[in-house]
């Protein structure tokens, strides 16, 4: 139960952070991505602030096998850089550059009642679902 409560709280604080930082405003994001125009470097400071806070807790998490709520510590173990990682990330970056929404910002803007954010989120879910189906199919083909 407390896992669910703290998940809700984490999402809430994360979302407020996105609003405060400007990440939830597509015009601000596109201003940050527009190096050749009138560049607004603000959003580089978002990642800086988040990482400055995050480094020590993540180092502490790595030394543990269970969390403070006795959950199995599930940190990613993959360390290799492959074509899939890079191609997928480039595609994500292209989508980010088209509209200025990353997944979290889209959800927060949807929570503000923005209809256009709803269109973005629905298309994002469709894209995720499509890839999920493709992955499952190729896994089945390999298993057959």
């Amino acid at each position: 139960m407390s896992v669910i409560v703290f998940s809700l709280l984490s999402g809430l604080v994360f979302g407020i952070g996105l609003i405060v930082s400007g990440m939830a405003d597509p015009a601000k994001v596109l201003g940050f991505l527009d190096l050749a125009g009138r560049w607004d470097p603000s959003l580089a400071f978002v990642m800086g602030g988040a990482i400055a806070v995050g480094v020590m807790p993540f180092a502490a998490a790595r030394r543990r096998t269970v969390s403070f709520l006795r959950q199995t510590m599930r940190l990613p173990t993959a360390r290799h850089v492959d074509r899939r990682l890079i191609a997928g990330s480039v595609l994500f970056g292209m989508g980010w550059g088209v509209a200025g929404f990353c997944p979290g910002a889209g959800l927060v803007a949807l929570g503000m009642g923005e209809l256009k954010a709803a269109a973005f989120v629905l298309a994002m879910l469709a894209g995720m679902g499509a890839l999920e189906l493709l992955d499952r199919r190729s896994a089945n083909l390999r298993a057959a």
Partner: protein, 144 residues
Amino acid sequence: MSIDWNSFTPGSAVAGGVLIGIAAAMFVLLNGRIAGISGILSGLLQPAKGDRAWRLAFVLGLLAAPAAYLLAGPFPKPQIDVGWGALVLAGLLVGVGTRYGSGCTSGHGVCGLSRLSPRSLAATAAFMGGGFATVFVVRHLLGI
């Protein structure tokens, strides 16, 4: 390159980033998981594995963030200048790309870099590059 000093907001960017870092740190230390929004969201599209509740709670937290922000005052309205077609295209790219590349700005950019993961560093460079390149093409080559 010229810097848009009028839009430059390093203070709120750092403050928002710190909140995002706190949310990610709280999530990993208490729940033992990476606060990667695309991963948490797409997990809801998979066949039930008994982990729907905390995923849903986190997403609800993001959606409720604007309502919580209202306690302090009106939230800044996001400025969405692109059209519906572009939003759908962006959503599809973000959905496919984040699943193919196993993460987005939160999972790779915030959590991955806080863990000093070389894989996430490569992914972050790739999606930033994709975003910069796309905005350059859209604004300066196509002139949209």
